[in-house]
């Protein structure tokens, strides 16, 4: 345990000096504030409180930003050590590869969690100060916060796996960005394209819900939109939220971090320094 904590402390210090902490905090704070202020206009017509609308916007923000931040922090984790030449020495120490990974995960996840909580805290304060009824949106916001952190853990784990597989930071960075683009942006577009071509056939009725649950980013979006009742204010894939039970998307967002970390562990074990 002491080794894990020491690894986490050291990684946190490195992230602090590399400005990753500052970048994550500023990005989450600025985007959350902008969305809260910009999203306050249409509330009157929809008959929901100000914070619930903001939660729908923040969900979309988290789907893009949290995976991106997680991948940016994690792609260097193993490939960077390998390239700097610090990995062989580390692996001769009485510390297991699992402990190294968990230590890094704790540090990076702590940074993400602080950034998410800061952003959401700002959103809540601004909303509640402008609309006292906005406190009814707090449970939805809290759900969004912890599920964002789980989403971050998933992408951190996947980032470590990519880092271990590519062994060079440049390669790992390329893979990380491709993965982000694929899962967060192109996946939904591809699904929509298939649905249009399918025209209400087998794919739309049978395979589509599983395709959504299989992607951690989509499962995250579904869970937050279906649980918050804010789905009415969301468009696109979010419209599918009502068709899939919340427990299924919850299962997906709980399972993904574990699967990603196991994947990272398996990839790291294969690295020969």
């Amino acid at each position: 345990m002491r080794r894990v904590i020491s690894t986490a402390t050291t990684e946190f210090r490195i992230a602090l000096r590399n400005r990753w902490v500052a970048i994550a905090l500023v990005l989450m704070a600025v985007f959350s504030l902008v969305l809260t202020l910009a999203g306050s206009a249409p509330t009157g017509g929809l008959g929901v409180d100000r914070l619930s609308v903001t939660v729908a916007s923040l969900t979309s923000l988290s789907v893009y930003l949290v995976p991106l931040l997680a991948l940016l922090m994690s792609f260097d984790a193993i490939a960077g050590e390998a390239e700097r030449g610090t990995l062989p020495l580390l692996l001769t120490y009485p510390v297991s590869r699992g402990e190294v990974l968990v230590g890094k995960l704790i540090a990076h996840l702590a940074i993400l969690a602080v950034a998410v909580l800061l952003g959401h805290g700002l959103a809540a304060s601004v909303s509640i100060s402008g609309d006292a009824a906005a406190t009814s949106g707090l449970p939805a916001l809290w759900r969004l916060s912890w599920s964002s952190i789980l989403l971050g853990a998933t992408f951190l784990g996947v980032g470590y796996a990519l880092s271990a597989l590519s062994r060079r930071p440049s390669g790992a960075a390329g893979l990380a960005i491709s993965l982000w683009l694929g899962l967060v942006v192109l996946y939904d577009l591809a699904l929509l394209a298939v649905i249009v071509a399918d025209n209400g056939g087998w794919f739309t009725t049978e395979a589509f819900p599983f395709a959504l649950l299989a992607n951690p980013a989509d499962a995250f979006r579904l869970y937050n939109l279906s649980a918050s009742g804010a789905a009415t204010t969301a468009a696109g894939i979010g419209g599918a939220a009502n068709a899939i039970p919340a427990w299924q998307s919850l299962f997906s967002i709980l399972l993904w971090p574990l699967a990603a970390l196991m994947l990272a562990g398996a990839a790291f074990r294969k690295v020969t320094p």
Partner: protein, 297 residues
């Protein structure tokens, strides 16, 4: 007391290419062993096998009565990689504190350890600002953590100036006196300065020689070179008396086997006044090393 390190018939193959072939050796507690060889001779590969970073293809390796890379072995073995590298954003002290905690030691030892390798003043500066020699010292400091029974040092003196190199060997003497075994690698025999108990020469993955410097010198049996300087005008007389000598102006260069050395010296002194000066050059450390590492045995 048993050996700290025992290797029997170790072979390591990378995709069909043999990096190490049938290497056997052992290192006793308190023994300082130098591993010599060219780039690509298999030194680093052998060290990585000993550390458990890569598996052996065949053969047995026992490190501190445990399998290489096992938790028990890792607790007792320290490593200094070639070109020791650390995260540039950390200070020397932070890095060593982290390594101390990974070994379950008190992190407050960091400053005394850094002081021991002469880095006390730079301990709170980031490693990114260090010179190569300073990084090497951080590497040495981390290798001293927790009284290891075996130190595996990959080209530890590269990047060190001659004074630092002396200090480094003095430190090794202290460790060996406390019973630690030391296996260090180097490109050249001159680098280890005969400050080790035993020398192993690896050539193309095979153990070409093993023994003390005296043993190696005797085994190599390299010729002795004699430089004879003639007094004015006598150079031709001397050349006649010493068949096989090569004339270079007023001097004559002569080589002879070790066993003939005294006889040849006798003949030269017999020339009396005709000889102005005589120099005897025994085979240098470089010559002995080249002899073994070229695989001429």
């Amino acid at each position: 007391m048993t050996s700290t390190l025992t290797i029997t018939h170790l072979t390591k193959r990378f995709q069909g290419v043999e990096a190490l072939t049938d290497v056997s050796l052992s290192v006793a507690p308190g023994e300082r062993v130098a591993l010599l060889g060219h780039n690509g001779a298999g030194k680093s590969t052998m060290m990585k096998v000993i550390l458990g970073l890569i598996p052996a293809t065949s053969g047995d390796v026992t490190v501190c009565d445990a399998a290489p890379g096992s938790p028990a072995a890792r607790r007792q073995v320290a490593y200094l990689p070639e070109n020791a590298a650390f995260h540039p954003a950390l200070t020397g002290e932070e890095q060593v504190r982290h390594y101390l905690r990974l070994r379950g030691e008190d992190a407050r030892q960091a400053l005394p350890l850094l002081a021991r390798v002469g880095l006390h003043d730079a301990a709170r500066r980031r490693i990114g600002t260090y010179s190569k020699g300073m990084r090497q010292r951080v590497g040495l400091a981390q290798a001293l953590i927790g009284h290891p029974r075996l130190l595996v040092l990959d080209e530890p003196t590269s990047g060190l100036d001659p004074v630092s190199r002396r200090e480094f060997y003095a430190l090794l003497d202290e460790l060996a006196a406390e019973g630690a075994s030391i296996l260090l690698s180097s490109h050249a025999l001159t680098e280890v300065e005969a400050r080790t108990d035993r020398i192993l020469v690896l050539s193309k993955g095979r153990l070409a020689a093993s023994g003390t410097l005296v043993d190696l010198r005797r085994e190599a049996d390299l010729p002795v070179v004699l430089h004879v300087t003639a007094r004015n005008g006598y150079a031709s007389d001397i050349a006649e008396a010493l068949p096989g000598a090569i004339r270079v102006g007023a001097a004559l260069h002569l080589t002879c086997p070790q066993s003939d050395k005294l006889a040849v010296l006798g003949r030269i002194t017999g020339l009396g006044d005709k000889v102005a000066d005589l120099e005897v050059l025994p085979p240098s450390l470089e010559d002995i090393y080249s002899h073994f590492s070229r695989g001429t045995v």
